[in-house]
Amino acid sequence: MIVLFGVIAWATSVLSVLTLNKYLTEEYISKGTAISESIARSAVEIILNRDASTAQSIIDQYMESSGVSYVYVVDNKGSIISHTFVPGIPAEVLHLTNESEKTEFVTIKMKAYHVIDISSPILAGVMGYVHVGMDKDIILNRILSTFLRQQAIIFIIFLFSVFLAYYLINRISKPLIRLTAYAKELVAHDFSSPDEISAEILQLKMTSRDEIGALAESILHMETSLNEYVTRLIETTTAKERIESELIVARQIQMSIVKKTFPPFPHRSEFDIYAVIEPAREVGGDFYDFFFIDDHNLFFIIGDVSDKGAPASLFMAVTRTLIRAMAKDGLKPDQLISRVNQELSLDNESQMFVTLFCGVMDTQTGVILYVNAGHNPPLIMPLASEVTYLETIPGISIGIIEDASFHLGRLVLNPGETLFMYTDGVTEAMNWTDELFSEEKLQSIVRTNRDASLEDLISTVMQEIERFSNDVPQTDDITMLALRFDGEKSE
């Protein structure tokens, strides 16, 4: 910036010096010419008729003109007959000759200064010449003084500008620096403890009516917002933590009511049962259950409440309790579900519903009576044929229509054959490209692992689901229940 300024200053000055030099020189030559020609005209009569002192007193008058360094008159023989030189005639002018009939000028260098010598002929040169020396150093001095004055003015303007710029930048940057520092402090600020707003920044907001004021205001606004936000965040976090701790309790309760100990009936060898439940949130809406309703009839159920979380869990608990209570009454599954449906449908303000597949297996014969209330059909794994989905008559989900009726299905498992039940959390598990795990994939996995133990089968399916979803968060509860009939052991 400074260099640029200097260049501009110099360029301007050099230009004016050149211009000044040109015009002053022209002016000087023109002045000298006027003097020289004027003397030359009057000299005709004086040289012819008058003595040397008259000529001298005429040329002396011109010495009073500024810039005239000398005047001298040369006669036709070339001798100087009148001059103004002190202390003597300088050698430099002795060899100056003008033999033309018009005024001529030439720049000569004297000992200490430069002179523009202008010579005019007297009577066309017949009577001699008048020489007028114009002091060129006066021009140079004037130019120098102009140049110096110009430089001084430019320098003063420059200094003034620098100080002004410094003052203005300081005025802008000082609050900016303060604001920046304040913004940095904000980062380390503990918003959880109440803190008074910086008085300095507040002052800045009040006094500055410009962008700085606006910036201060935004920073203060940001601080206030941050304060509020952090306070709210703390509140919600606290609330969430409370809920979460409650949910953990609820899960514990849920897990405690779901049987998790396998084998559940270690003294029974005519069948095997295995189940797993993996809720999507802390507390799920899925459930399974199994228990003997008499000596050899095993009741089993897998269900899925339409919602998830705590309410679903509660709804599930209610459903399960109702089923448990009513199953002991020796009701067939269809009657049982009808009654549970009736109970749930009454005053079902939450509009929740449950899909379920339940049945009773005669552990002596492998005969299963079952009901499908809007649930995914289970897979059956016959020994002699392919693993297929059980063809059921899917009824309506319970909890919706109070007097709905449910179809009672019958199925016989031969020894070694397995019924594989699951909830839609299995087949509708998703990966990153929103693909579903699908019933086909489930069917194929089960088919591949048909000879594995129930526990291995279920854990394999679980692994496959995990691999498929590839860390996509689980959106639905995943529940699987497998039941194998083994029949009477020959021993």
Partner: protein, 415 residues
Amino acid sequence: MRKIGTDIFIVQLIVCVLMLFSFSPEIVAGDYVIGMSAPFTGPSKRLGLELYRGSMAYFHHINENGGINGSKIVIKAYDDGYNPTPAIKNTIRLVEQDAAMLLFNYVGTPTVTRILPLLKNYDEKQIYLFFPFTGAQPQREPPYDRFVFNLRASYRQETKGLVDNLINIGRNRIGIFYQADAYGRSGWDGVRRALSAHGLQIAAEATYRRGIQYTQSLMEQVNILKKVDIDGVISIGSYAACAAFIRDARDAGLTQPIANLSFVGSESLLDLLTEISKEKGKDYTKDLINSQVVPSYEESSLPAVQEYKKLIQRYPFTSPINRSDDTSRSFKPSFVSFEGFLNAKVLVEILLRRTRSIEIRGLKETVETVRNLDIGIESPVSFNPNKHQGLNKIYYTTVKNNRFIPIESWKVWEK
């Protein structure tokens, strides 16, 4: 406020008028008012003062003895400091405001040369310049010679005399030191013409600027002349410059004779040289030649010298412009004041002739009829229509025992 201002002005006016009456010569209607412009300040002021003093001594005597038929002669004098422009202004003032009947005792070539056209301008008023203290040519030649009456011989005559005498004793290579103006040029021209008559040229020349002080160095000029082998120097300047030149020339070992013109004011020059001689213990007054246009006041046999010495002691001198200036209060005779005295004597004779005459004549005609007027210096004064210069004789003097005495023989400087 305005009232007070006016009052103050009136009081000041009264004071001024009173001062005029108390200090300046009383001017009464019918008096002969004659105008004078001369240096009363500056380096050449002694010329103006001496000239005025010499003239006033005689006028004072005439006025005390009844004047010119009862009319007194009053000099109205203004200072020009030996510069042309003030001289022009003074002349206009003298003619137009003071209604001077004639101009008298102007000092210097550059000043007189420049007022000559003014005299032509005042042609109808018949204003004449009497006896200027300069020997330059312009007022001795057409077209201005008819407006001027000179008493003294010209510079040409002075320089010619000096040159001829120097050549007579074998000093052919003459250098010239002169004032860079009309005066210097006039002397230079005289020297050149005189040399040219002998087929010679000026051997070397150096100049100085008019108005320099005695304290300034003129070594540069001395060196210019010294470079050339010269036999003598003719110096055309004022006493301050010439004294400084002589001082520096002698200091630089230039031992050749140095000749000065009458204008130098011989006593003023001598005073300065005597002083430095005492100071440095070296004789700076040696080998000086001063040409004069009036006889030496040492020649007591001359009636004019006796009268001059008698009257000048009687006259209570004061400077016309500065009454506290006492530089010349103590009387010492001088060539300049003697010239002033003679100028006054001739002018009074002319004025008397004019009043005595039965025919009414112009002043010019009166002067032009003066023939062989004896003013007590042995050389008679004559004018005619073609000759407006009263005297022609040159007197050569040299310094001996701190006094100017006539040169009896030039042989002492023979080469």
